[in-house]
C-alpha cells in the first residue's frame, strides 16, 4: 500500500507547456504515472508528449477524469493556479513552485480549510510511491519499493536519505517532500498519521530542519499516536540565528525558537532517534526492521 498516491492516481499537469512542466511531465510518464492532461490558459487543444492540454483545470478534470494535479507555474501566478485546482474538487494538489509569497500562501491555506483537497508543498520535490506513481521532480531511479515511509521538508535531503536506504536494500512505501516554506499544505503530522494507518509501512523517516515548530509538534504527535517506529534527521545545526538558509522557512529566530537543538530534543523525548548523519539515520531504520 502507500499514502496519498498510487497507480490509480490520474494527474493534470498545470504549466505543462513550460520548460519545467514539459520536462517533468515526461519524466513522470516514463516512471509510469498516469498523466492524463495538461492545463495552461491559452494552450487548450495542443498536446505535450501526447497528453491533451486544456485551457482550464476544470475542463481537464472533466474531460480526463483526473483526481490530482501537479503545479509547475511560476511564483507570481502559482497561488492563482492552486486556487484554480482547489476549485475542482481534486483529491490532491502538489505544488512544486519555489518562491510563492507567504501572504499568498496564507490565503491559499484559508481556502484549503474550506475544501476537501490535500495540498502538498509548495516549494517541494513532490511525492512518490515507488513502482506506482510519482508526482513532482524526484529522481525516480534512486527509489525502491519497500516498507519504509519518508517525509521531509527538503528535496535534496530526501534524495540523500533515500539513497542511503536504497543502497542497503531498504525500499520505501511512499516518500513525500512537504516543502521548505513557512506556510505549507500537508504537515509532518498529516504524513505521519497516514503512515501510521498504512499497514505496509513498518518504519518512518522524518527529515526536518531549523525554523518554525513543526518538528516539535510532530514529536508530540509521535509520542501520543504512533506505534510505527520513527527515525529522524534535522538539518541546520550550524545555522546562525536570523539568517535565512535557502528555504524561506529555514531561519532560526532571534529568540532561539526553531533551533536544531530544540527539535532534536523534542524528537528524542518522543522516542525518536535522530541521526547525526544520513548514514546514521539509515542505521536506525535498519535496527527497526
Amino acid at each position: 500500500m502507500s499514502i496519498f498516491v498510487d497507480d490509480d492516481t490520474r494527474v493534470v499537469v498545470q504549466g505543462i507547456t513550460g520548460g519545467e512542466g514539459r520536462f517533468h511531465a515526461e519524466q513522470m510518464i516514463d516512471y509510469g504515472t498516469n498523466v492524463v492532461a495538461g492545463a495552461v490558459p491559452g494552450k487548450g487543444g495542443e498536446s505535450v508528449h501526447d497528453v491533451p492540454v486544456y485551457d482550464t483545470v476544470d475542463r481537464a478534470v472533466e474531460a480526463e477524469n483526473a483526481n490530482a494535479s501537479v503545479v509547475f507555474v511560476p511564483p507570481a501566478f502559482a497561488a492563482d493556479a492552486i486556487f484554480e485546482a482547489l476549485d475542482t474538487d481534486l483529491d490532491l494538489v502538489v505544488a512544486i513552485t519555489e518562491g510563492i509569497p507567504t501572504q499568498d500562501m496564507a490565503r491559499v491555506k484559508k481556502r484549503l480549510s474550506e475544501v476537501d483537497t490535500r495540498l502538498i508543498g509548495p516549494n517541494c520535490p513532490g511525492i512518490i510511491t515507488p513502482g506506482e506513481a510519482k508526482l513532482g521532480i524526484l529522481p525516480g531511479n534512486i527509489f525502491a519499493e519497500g516498507n519504509v515511509g519518508l517525509v521531509s521538508r527538503s528535496g535534496t535531503l530526501t534524495y540523500q536519505v533515500v539513497d542511503n536506504l536504497t543502497q542497503r536494500g531498504i525500499g520505501q512505501t511512499t516518500a513525500v517532500g512537504i516543502g521548505g516554506d513557512p506556510i505549507i499544505g500537508t504537515s509532518f503530522i498529516d504524513a505521519l498519521e497516514a503512515f501510521e494507518a498504512d499497514t505496509d509501512t513498518d518504519a518512518v523517516v522524518m527529515c526536518g530542519e531549523i525554523g518554525g515548530e513543526d518538528e516539535e509538534r510532530a514529536a508530540a504527535f509521535i509520542a501520543e499516536h504512533m506505534d510505527t517506529p520513527v527515525a529522524g534527521f534535522i538539518a541546520g545545526r550550524t545555522a546562525p540565528p536570523g539568517k535565512r538558509m535557502g528555504h524561506a522557512g529555514a531561519i532560526v529566530s532571534g529568540s532561539g525558537t526553531g533551533t536544531a537543538e530544540s527539535k532534536i530534543e523534542a524528537l528524542n523525548e518522543a522516542g525518536v532517534p535522530v541521526g547525526d548523519t544520513p548514514e546514521e539515520v539509515a542505521d536506525h531504520v535498519e535496527d527497526f526492521l
Binding site: 501572504q103 490565503r107 484559508k110 521531509s152 521538508r153 540523500q160 538539518a235 545555522a239 535557502g246 532571534g254
Partner: protein
C-alpha cells in the same frame, strides 16, 4: 529583507503614523547640521541591522551640540556586533511617559497574520513573549478579509492600553496591518510607541522585514535590496542571485538544495571542521551558475578548501561538472583545493566529464566532507 529604521519610518510616516522629526546623516558635520535644525535633545541612532542597538552603544541622546559631536564621532564608523555603522538617524528626542509595543507578523503555525499589542514596550518583546505571554494581546487575522477595525480595538483594550490613547494606538495597529499586507511584509513593528508628556502617541522606532519572495511585486522596496546587504560577499551573491550566507570558518561549501547544503555544513562541523559559508546553487543550475558559485566562494579570504556536494534531481550532474571544469581551468593553478561529490541525475555522465586534474572526487557525502576538512589542514601546515 530587513529595512533600516529610517526607511521603515519613511514608509510609516507616508501612511500617516506619527514619527519624530529626523534627518539621515553619514558624517559628523551632517549630524551637526541635523541637530541645528531639529534642536535638543536629539537621538543619534546607528542604522545597522542589529537588535539591541541601544544596549550595544549604538543609540545616544545628545543634550547639546558638543555632546552631539562626541556621540557622532563615537557611533559613525563603530563596529556594532560585526557591522560597521555608516549612517545614523538624527531624531528629535521625545519626552515620554509610557512605552507600548505594536506589531504584526505571520504566525506560521496557524498560517495567518497575527496583530499584537502590549503595554510592555521599549524592552525586548521576545523576552516578554517568552516569560509573560499574557502581557501581549494577540488577534489572528483572516487573510482573505484583512484586519477588521474591531480586532484592532479589541487588541488595544485587551492589552490594557489607557482608554484615552486607545483610538490612536488602534489606528497605528490598523495602519501597520494595511502596510503589512500592501508591502508584503513578514514582520512589521513599532517598539516603542511612545506616549509623550503632551499626550501624543509617536512611533519612536520602526522595524519592517519584507518577504523576499514578493519583491517582484514591490518594485520600490526591491530597489532598497542593495542597501540591505551588510557584507561585500553577500552583495556579490545578490548580483549572482545565489542563496549565500557567510560564516566564520574555512571550509567553503557549495551544494544544491537548502536541506542538503545545511546537512553538508552540519557534517563539516560534525567531523571537526568549520564551515565558511552556506551556498545553495538551487535547482536546475547550469554551468554558468556553478562558475559564479565557485568565484564567490574563492573570493572569501578565509576559505582554505571547498566541498561541492550535488545530489541531482532537477539539477544535472553533467551541467555541474562542465561548470566546475570551466571555472577551474580559467586559473593557472586552482586557488583552493576542491572536492566534488556528484550523485543523482546524470551523475555518471558528470563523473566522466569532470577533470580530475583540477578536483578530487569522492563517492559519498561523508567522504567528501572529511577530505575537504583534511585539505584545510594541509593548507595550514604549508
Amino acid at each position: 529583507m530587513k529595512l533600516h529604521e529610517h526607511q521603515a519610518k519613511e514608509i510609516f510616516a507616508d501612511a500617516g503614523i506619527p514619527v519624530p522629526e529626523s534627518r539621515l546623516a553619514s558624517s559628523v558635520s551632517e549630524v551637526l547640521d541635523a541637530v541645528d535644525e531639529i534642536g535638543f535633545p536629539a537621538a543619534i541612532k546607528a542604522q545597522v541591522h542589529v537588535g539591541g542597538r541601544g544596549k550595544a552603544g549604538g543609540i545616544k541622546i545628545a543634550g547639546d551640540r558638543e555632546e552631539a559631536e562626541t556621540y557622532a564621532e563615537e557611533i559613525l564608523g563603530m563596529d556594532l556586533k560585526g557591522y560597521t555603522v555608516e549612517k545614523v538617524l538624527v531624531e528629535a528626542g521625545v519626552d515620554f511617559v509610557d512605552e507600548l509595543y505594536v506589531g504584526v507578523t505571520m504566525d506560521r503555525g496557524k498560517g495567518r497574520p497575527v496583530a499584537m499589542v502590549s503595554t510592555e514596550g521599549g524592552v525586548d518583546i521576545e523576552q516578554v513573549a517568552e516569560e509573560t505571554p499574557e502581557a501581549i494581546a494577540r488577534e489572528h487575522v483572516d487573510p482573505s478579509f484583512g484586519m477588521q477595525p474591531y480586532q484592532a480595538r479589541k487588541a488595544v483594550y485587551d492589552a490594557g492600553v489607557p482608554r484615552e490613547f486607545a483610538r490612536d494606538v488602534s489606528g497605528i495597529l490598523s495602519t501597520l496591518y494595511d502596510l503589512f499586507e500592501e508591502r508584503d511584509a513578514s514582520e512589521i513593528e513599532v517598539n516603542p510607541v511612545m506616549i509623550t508628556s503632551d499626550d501624543e502617541v509617536v512611533a519612536a522606532d520602526a522595524v519592517m522585514n519584507i518577504d523576499e519572495d514578493a519583491l517582484f511585486r514591490q518594485p520600490e522596496l526591491a530597489e532598497l535590496e542593495e542597501e540591505a546587504y551588510e557584507d561585500d560577499l553577500e552583495r556579490k551573491a545578490g548580483e549572482y542571485d545565489l542563496d549565500y550566507v557567510r560564516l566564520s570558518g574555512n571550509v567553503g561549501i557549495i551544494g544544491n538544495g537548502a536541506g542538503l547544503v545545511m546537512t553538508t555544513l552540519d557534517l563539516v562541523d560534525y567531523y571537526g571542521g568549520d564551515p565558511a559559508n552556506f551556498l545553495d546553487i538551487g535547482g536546475g543550475a547550469k554551468a554558468e551558475r556553478v562558475m559564479n558559485a565557485l568565484d564567490l566562494v574563492f573570493s572569501d579570504p578565509n576559505v582554505e578548501s571547498v566541498v561541492f556536494n550535488i545530489f541531482g534531481g532537477i539539477t544535472r550532474g553533467d551541467e555541474v561538472a562542465r561548470g566546475i571544469n570551466e571555472a577551474l581551468s580559467a586559473f593557472e593553478t586552482v586557488p583552493k583545493p576542491v572536492v566534488v561529490r556528484l550523485a543523482g541525475t546524470n551523475a555518471e555522465e558528470g563523473m566522466e566529464i569532470l577533470d580530475t586534474d583540477l578536483v578530487d572526487v569522492e563517492p559519498t557525502l561523508e567522504e567528501a566532507v572529511q577530505r575537504a576538512i583534511a585539505n584545510t589542514e594541509e593548507v595550514t601546515e604549508e
